[in-house]
Amino acid sequence: MSTTRRKITIDPVTRVEGHGRVTVQLDEAGKVERARFHIVEFRGFERFIQGHPYWEAPLLVQRLCGICPVSHHLAAAKAIDQIYGVDPEDLHPTATKIRRLLHFAQLFQSHALHFFYLASPDLLFGMDAPVEKRSVGAVAMEHGDLARKGIQMRQFGQELIKALAGKKIHGITAVPGGVHKTFHPEERDYFLADNETPSIDTMIQWSQEVVAFIKDYHDTHFRWLDSFASYPSGHLGLVSKEGALELYDGRMRAIDSHGNVTLNDVHSDNYLKYFGEGVEKWSYMKFPFLRHLGRQHGWNRVGPLARLNVCDSISTPLANAELQEFKAYTNGRPNNHTMHSHWARLIEILHCAEQIKILLNEPDILAEVERPPVNRRPEGIGIIEAPRGTLIHHYKADEKGSITKCNLIVSTTHNNEPMNQAVQWVAKNVLDGQKEITDGMLNQVEVAIRAYDPCLSCATHAMGQMPLKLTVFNVAGDVVAEHVKNSA
């Protein structure tokens, strides 16, 4: 047994978007004293967008990310619509359908990326697999059919985004009060037929296959999947007026770990009334919480698992059947099994594929859209369900149209406390008291974080709300200079 205090650092955490690190502090007996997930990136989008014209926001803020730019583009667009003078329900129906189509394409490709490229090595090769097995390359070599389907599913979503936005990454679809373009018939038909990119019918079939895969996998690995990094938590997501899963425009609903409603289908305009944001000196990522429950008890998971927990149904038949089976597994009670996030994510993939087919067959996605006249307002709030969870954009603009305030609560930010809880679970249940910490044990920390599909680049956009400390060490490790920029 070790006789000195030790600190274990995992830096960087791999197969996630962005950069973060984990530190685990062990005492003299090898017992875990503290485990933390630190976000060490620094961005500053909320500050440097100030002064830009409001209509630039959907173009600029999507640069937060190369994986989910569409989500930021659309959340910002919904907020900017309001500054322009249009509420979501007053947007032209064709514009709404085009934006929803873009959104489902984004969710589809992002979920495919996460499951096939980032998460599948852990499931297929196990958490103790050697490092060389922990990549999509190894999946390609040993599970070629699965890898090929994963690649083409992501490609389908990316090509649909390109057709709508002009580019796969950082394109333009939404403009204040409308959309930049709608579909031409030949653009639409490309996705209905098998081409170099398989058709939407093939995507639905493959989505069903991958849901069947995760259920089979669960049947043989349920002891691990039902227990690993499981802990009680709140859950937050958008729902429709009918209580169904809603990914583009809905009301916010939260429940606690027992299923009691803690946020009852509130409108986006009221988010500030309900949400507070805590900060810690050891992370650049904020800690959102429900004000009436406080910082300690008011945090919620967001993302696929949370969304399926808070909704009553799904509007598309195939995904709804899967949802009911998913809910039946926990007898209708909230599912707090972190690893079931993968199962939930794949049910959402199926839902997105079904929704894409419905929208592609809507005749008016080929129609022209006229924007309503501008009727300026001072502020706007846009909330959508991004792949990783509830995404909030809030802007204020002055009479000249310059942005004066921006607040972003990004999906991964909601999951900050849940990811820290997951890290602490692994620290206490896997690392605690071990004589030797193996590479496989450390990978389990990453597996727990990876279940949330965190996008750390998106989540570290804040500036001016936490101290920035710069410390310069000499080669001997002595501090030779220190500069602290305190909160604004």
């Binding site: 791999t14 197969r15 190369g66 490229y117 980032l118 060389e132 990549s135 999509v136 390359g137 390609a140 070599m141 070629g144 890898a147 090929r148 690649i151 083409q152 992501r154 490609q155 990316q158 990454i169 170099e196």
Partner: protein, 143 residues
């Protein structure tokens, strides 16, 4: 089909050499094939490459190159350590072979850069090397 893939980021000064090369080639409209811009290679590029006869990767290079650029064959590499974030051309060619059973002819054109700051536009040295690489491409390659 021939395919030219430029890798880089024009917002990072000379990291944009790959894209700048493609801009010039596209402007001349003589290249008989497709042109693709990438911040970085993606796993799905293996599928794209499987449909080509000849692929050329164009990227900036941080080290010293005797002529300011270097054109060389590119081979599939199983040993390359890669993640889903940084996929070198050799890894993509390996995935292409494993997943699709295709091994198209592949080359890479590396152009030496000098400046990597957050800035749009190439350094003066990089512009000179870009011109040299373009001259080589036009005169020595069968396009």
């Amino acid at each position: 089909m021939n395919l030219l893939i430029g890798i880089g980021n024009s917002g990072r000064s000379d990291d944009g050499l790959g894209w700048a090369f493609l801009d010039r080639i596209q402007h001349e409209a003589r290249f008989p094939g497709d042109i693709e811009y990438r911040y970085q290679l993606q796993v799905e590029d293996a599928e794209l490459i499987s449909r080509t006869e000849h692929v050329i990767f164009v990227d900036s290079y941080r080290g010293e190159l005797s002529d300011g650029f270097q054109f060389e064959p590119c081979h599939a590499s199983r040993d390359t350590e890669f993640t889903s974030h940084v996929l070198p051309p050799g890894a993509i060619l390996h995935l292409c072979s494993e997943l699709y059973g295709k091994s198209p002819r592949a080359d890479q054109l590396l152009i030496q850069g000098s400046s990597w700051e957050l800035r749009t536009g190439l350094s003066a040295e990089a512009k000179t090397r870009l011109d040299r690489a373009l001259t080589f491409f036009r005169t020595e390659l069968p396009f």
